[in-house]
Amino acid sequence: MGWLFLFLGLPLILLLTLPLINMTTQPSAAMLKQTIMDKDVTAAIARSLLLSLSAAGLAFIMGTPLAYLLARKELPGKKLLEGIIDLPIMIPHPVIGIAILSLAGRNHPIGRFLSEAGIQIMGTKTGIICVLLFVGLPFYINTVKSGFDNVPIRLENASRTLGAGAFATFARITFPLTWRHMILGIIMCTARAISEFGAIVIVAYHPMTAPVMIYERFTAFGLKYSQPIAVWLILISFVLFVFLRMMTRSIHTDTR
């Protein structure tokens, strides 16, 4: 049966690997080296990484309490809230960009308020982080919520009965049992954010992130000049996902 399943799964594996292998093997080593020496390219990749990690950091700070609430409390409209959190996965990403822009524009009270507060969304790193948080948040919240779901509420109650308050219980029981899920959530959120293009290109074409630069080089100079940047981005994403898989394995090991 194993061979039959492998036979059926093989086209999928080829679909995933062939285009990537083909693309990563096409640029010469010299071209790859030359690309990574290009300061614009390294700046774009570093920007993608840093802004994605910043978005993941914000997801960690603000998303963790929300994930905890969703896992532990029976809130009115909880299903609706969960649906809203999942929305960015389904919405076409240019639509996300347009939605954020329309909110942050001068025609909207929120946009005017932000502008008066000196916060610019369009064409800024703030705008990019906002977009990346939007698209990455479902991945963080859902991963961390499943971590909280795995911690029996009895353990938290037991801690309270032994004298620990709610915050001490979170710090000494809940956090140590879920930190791996939080790291996993940060990786998922970062990985998702690094690959974002559709929404960023609308909110902030500049400063340029790696996916926008790949698009620009492709439209301006053709495939040959966009491929090496894509290869570097794929390599970085690959490293992240290998790390992700290793983390997942260690989570399974811990819940024996």
Binding site: P152, R154, L155, N157, A158, R160, L162, A164, G165, I173
Partner: protein, 346 residues
């Protein structure tokens, strides 16, 4: 020591209704009831995990109904012990010491005493996933006892243990209660373990207290059919007064009791272990019947014998040796009886 006054706790699909209980100092108090009766919920309410909807919880003349869980002078040992999986045995036991302002020296002394008293010396560095059920229970007990709680709450303390650990764990609980002279409130659905451990108790059904008092009273003088059945009383039938005796409804069987029943009593019961075989040997046995054996089934180290006494189904529990000694078998005639003091009315 602890008094529950008209406690109600309402959940979407279940509620505790008008619970009034009193637990005295040094009691080993059992909350007894079938699964789903609300006894564990009541225990969580006393601990403060589930807030009561109304009523008051008085502890040593102080109303602690609204006191947060962590501030209550109580400790709870969960049915599955709820040990923290990421902490070793030592860290688990010492977990609460800091919150109760116990100095490090004092905590260490109590720790040393408890691991010695509970036989945990060899496992102090182990993690919970490496412990047997009995070891987990002792660690959970030590984790609560190190805080010197005024009242210890136990949620079904024996039900998660393999039978092989049962007797040992039961004796340990008895020893802890005796040695530390503490008040314990235990939830259980097993009347046998309650008989062994507790001195007082209450029987709960559908979120209501059915009866409370000394365990002996609950055992011997149940005041309702439910309680009677729950404490293992069998042979429950309705009766009508018939002169100085009680006539079992729908039969011509007359039962002699030690004292006349209360006028509002309409049922009687006889514990199966109080049914005597061949009672002619006992001159004081005034309730004497002949009948037929309808079935014999094993009952642990005893045998359960089903009897038909002139159309009335009775059940007796006798030693296994009786089967051979008296040549008992299904379909064979038999003479049985019981003393008037074995008849309980309600």
């Amino acid at each position: 020591m602890i008094a529950l006054k008209h406690i109600c706790l309402t959940l979407p699909e279940f509620s505790l209704t008008d619970i009034c209980l009193e637990v005295h100092p040094h009691d080993f108090f059992a909350l007894i009831g079938p699964t789903g009766s609300g006894k564990s919920l009541l225990l969580e309410g006393i601990m403060g995990i589930m807030p009561f909807t109304s009523g008051s919880l008085i502890f040593e003349d102080t109303d602690i109904t609204r006191v947060p869980v962590e501030k209550r002078p109580l400790a709870l040992v969960y049915q599955d012990f709820a040990l923290f999986p990421h902490l070793d045995v030592t860290q688990n036991i010492l977990y609460g010491a800091g919150y109760h302002h116990i100095s490090k020296l004092e905590a260490r002394q109590r720790f040393d005493y408890l691991i010695s008293a509970l036989g945990l010396e060899k496992i102090v560095l182990r993690f919970p996933y490496n412990l047997s059920g009995g070891e987990k229970q002792r660690v959970a007990l030590a984790r609560s006892l190190i805080l010197n709680p005024k009242v210890l709450l136990l949620d079904e303390p024996l039900s998660a243990l393999d039978p092989v650990f049962h007797d040992e764990a039961r004796s340990l609980l008895k020893k802890v209660h005796k040695d530390l002279n503490m008040t314990i409130i235990m939830v259980s659905h097993n009347f046998e373990e309650v008989l062994y451990l507790a001195n007082r108790g209450a029987i709960i059904k559908d979120g209501k207290i059915m009866q409370q008092g000394s365990i002996q009273t609950l055992f011997e003088k149940p005041d309702s059919r439910f309680t009677a059945q729950f404490v293992g009383m069998k042979n429950i039938v309705s009766f009508e007064p018939h002169g100085q005796t009680l006539r079992i409804a729908g039969t011509r069987l007359d039962i002699v009791t030690e004292t006349p029943p209360d006028p509002d009593h309409h049922h009687l019961g006889v514990r199966p272990e109080n049914i005597l075989l061949n009672p002619s040997a006992s001159p004081v046995c005034q309730n004497y019947f002949s009948g037929t054996i309808t079935g014999i089934s094993p009952y642990g180290v005893f045998t359960r014998v089903h009897l038909d006494l002139k159309g009335m189904a009775f059940e007796a529990i006798w030693p296994k040796t009786f089967i051979k000694e008296f040549d008992l078998d299904t379909g064979k005639p038999v003479s049985v009886g019981f003393h008037p003091e074995s008849v309980h009315t309600f």
